[in-house]
Symmetry: C2
Subunit: 440 residues, 2 copies
Amino acid sequence: MPTISDIKVQDVRFPTSLELDGSDAVNVDPDYSAAYVVVEADNGEAGHGLVFSCGRGNEVIVRAIESYGELLAGRDLDELLSNMGAASKLLVHDSQMRWLGPEKGVSHMAAGAVVNALWDIAARRAEKPLWRYLAELSPEKLVEAIDFTHISDALTPEEALAILQEGQAGKEERIRALEEEGYPAYTTSPGWLGYSDEKVVRLSKEAVGNGFDLIKLKVGGDLESDRRRLRIVREAVGEDIKVAIDANQRWDVPEAIDWLQQLSEFNPWWIEEATSTDDVLGHATIRKAVAPMKVATGEAVHNRIIFKQLLQAQAIDVLQIDSTRVAGVNENLANLLLAKKFGVPVCPHAGGVGLCELVQHFSFFDYAAVSGSLHNRYIEYVDHLHEHFAEPVVIKNARYQAPKAPGNGAEMHTESRARWTFPDGQGWQEVAGRAAVTRN
Amino acid sequence: MPTISDIKVQDVRFPTSLELDGSDAVNVDPDYSAAYVVVEADNGEAGHGLVFSCGRGNEVIVRAIESYGELLAGRDLDELLSNMGAASKLLVHDSQMRWLGPEKGVSHMAAGAVVNALWDIAARRAEKPLWRYLAELSPEKLVEAIDFTHISDALTPEEALAILQEGQAGKEERIRALEEEGYPAYTTSPGWLGYSDEKVVRLSKEAVGNGFDLIKLKVGGDLESDRRRLRIVREAVGEDIKVAIDANQRWDVPEAIDWLQQLSEFNPWWIEEATSTDDVLGHATIRKAVAPMKVATGEAVHNRIIFKQLLQAQAIDVLQIDSTRVAGVNENLANLLLAKKFGVPVCPHAGGVGLCELVQHFSFFDYAAVSGSLHNRYIEYVDHLHEHFAEPVVIKNARYQAPKAPGNGAEMHTESRARWTFPDGQGWQEVAGRAAVTRN
């Protein structure tokens, strides 16, 4: 029997603050980073996972992944893979580690990276990309993977099973359609706060020229500047293109409502992270006040329990899962099923480093086997750092093309990881002292 | 000018799992631990802080404290202390570290320990225990320390100032009363799940004999066992003693309601952590269903934004702050003021290691300068591990006696820290392989 023999963790960072790619009203100078894990078995099998972060602090996630790795070392790999629900609970509900969250923040993200590495091994064994591996698992195996703790008042295992059984009808056809046509994308690349007006307009037009019908701008830094940018983008792209806006939790509730009322004339399609994503009631209040503008959130929602409440409180129109914020595939299965139960479309958060590569699998799976719908559904796309991945995402006609390589999409080139290992990699020697991550 | 010259962090753990002290339905085998920090300045001043945890994972908090420490190294101590609100934001809102939470879990607790160490220095400079130092700060300085981000819809700086100004009336008299008579305590010592019936009854009677009129039992492991324990404790202590119960998040919402209806005949005074403390709406649902039983929560509430919602949703009757879960003194000032605004009493969580020593300061301050009331207010007391602290809490007539030593109460004896440093301290050599923390 193969046994978990090693957990290798790397602190990989990219000096993105040098370019102001990724700058918004809260994250003003991110150096996109990955706490990267490879879970190895003594038979040579290996699975990859990562947690995205913004630079400083990546070392803390690295330490947490090492600690969760210790809980797996020496265990029987086949047994872990035979019941992924139990494997996940070993980590997430460890009786002592649980206090670190519970189920939130550094510890939860770290557990998720390890869980995702196990799913990577499972999908590689099956020689399928994760989305297709999930889509072809039985409804029973999928339900077994889900932790219903603290969400059963909104979604029972029986309801989850019924949703997944319903999702079997037409599944093969949808899988074929996904493999031929891909899945709709939207782009945030034009809209970073650090960009000049000229650059925002140029990139917005390019995006529309490339077939995108939804683009996103960052807001929340300065009201007059937001109005100006929205106006010039509207003028550049016309009324038929959807323009979403994203405040990255910059506002308190009353401020959000005031500010959004000043932007409503530009007809934003959704407002994302209008306030703290801990604030379920605040989101519900904002949604009532700014309708018909849609309310979106999720990239910082730390677990299924907050998503459950956002849905129960009718606080959101768009649920944005993230691939490395929650405890891995298992918890995102719960999030997709909650969204389906409440009839809210899922538009995943991506960008950062590796988030596009990872999160696309959930939308492909969702269409194949859960919601069966593409209506008002898009995966976020940001066009940087893909070159470091073994299978970079492919966008064609503004659609994510179906990933084909076996696994979960997390695998980063060995050379990239070595070059950008912080602080000793060659890349960091070359930019010494210039990136924000080295500020103190 | 004095400058922050060193941040010393230690991984201190006690093998409490050997005794089943501290066992409950979720935390079955805790080894009470502290990620311990001393912030040192080059003029010899030093401040202490800690984060409590349950054993495994303490090393992750240690790493996070080191990272926050790096943000402070080399800074002007006087400048930091002159505006504690700004000092706290330096850490909590660091543009890159923020992603690790935001404001939750490992990173938030670690930031809190460092913030608390700064308050420790400030109180030592003033030669006052923290509670008295806070009580004698001006309302303006206290408001300056508070981060109103994401709570201003429930509490504005102006409202906070008005509450604190009102709290000035009679303050000196209340300070004198606190110094003479102390502050009411309740005890959890009889009620751990790992204890035999005989031990629970004996300790309950002892507690009542010692003057406690509120004791707490752990529940949620097994319904019949809970009913039996509540019955025998009721029989032992009579109807006039308040008996609170604590499920440590063990239940989902429907299960909580069913279970509590089976326990209601024993007239529990409050039910604590009936479900996930992330679940604001769930707590509100439970509270409606089990009234007049009170609903309490807070030891795992990760920030002021969740407390705000628990109050807005009328989800709790008792707000339980914790001294090391949130971002330090500053955030607990916000929590006390939110509780006052909404008219909900604060009954702090304590126990663990050092939590009694730390959290008592907030209740003493609250009575002196915020709520001015002792009605239905108690500080939790658990009688272990106090001997390791420079100024152990003193309970007399079931009341916490006012701490007198300058500082925040976190200082642990140097010898205790050395002996129980994990894994190399002498104490750990002596219990090698026996405590749960070493399980893998």
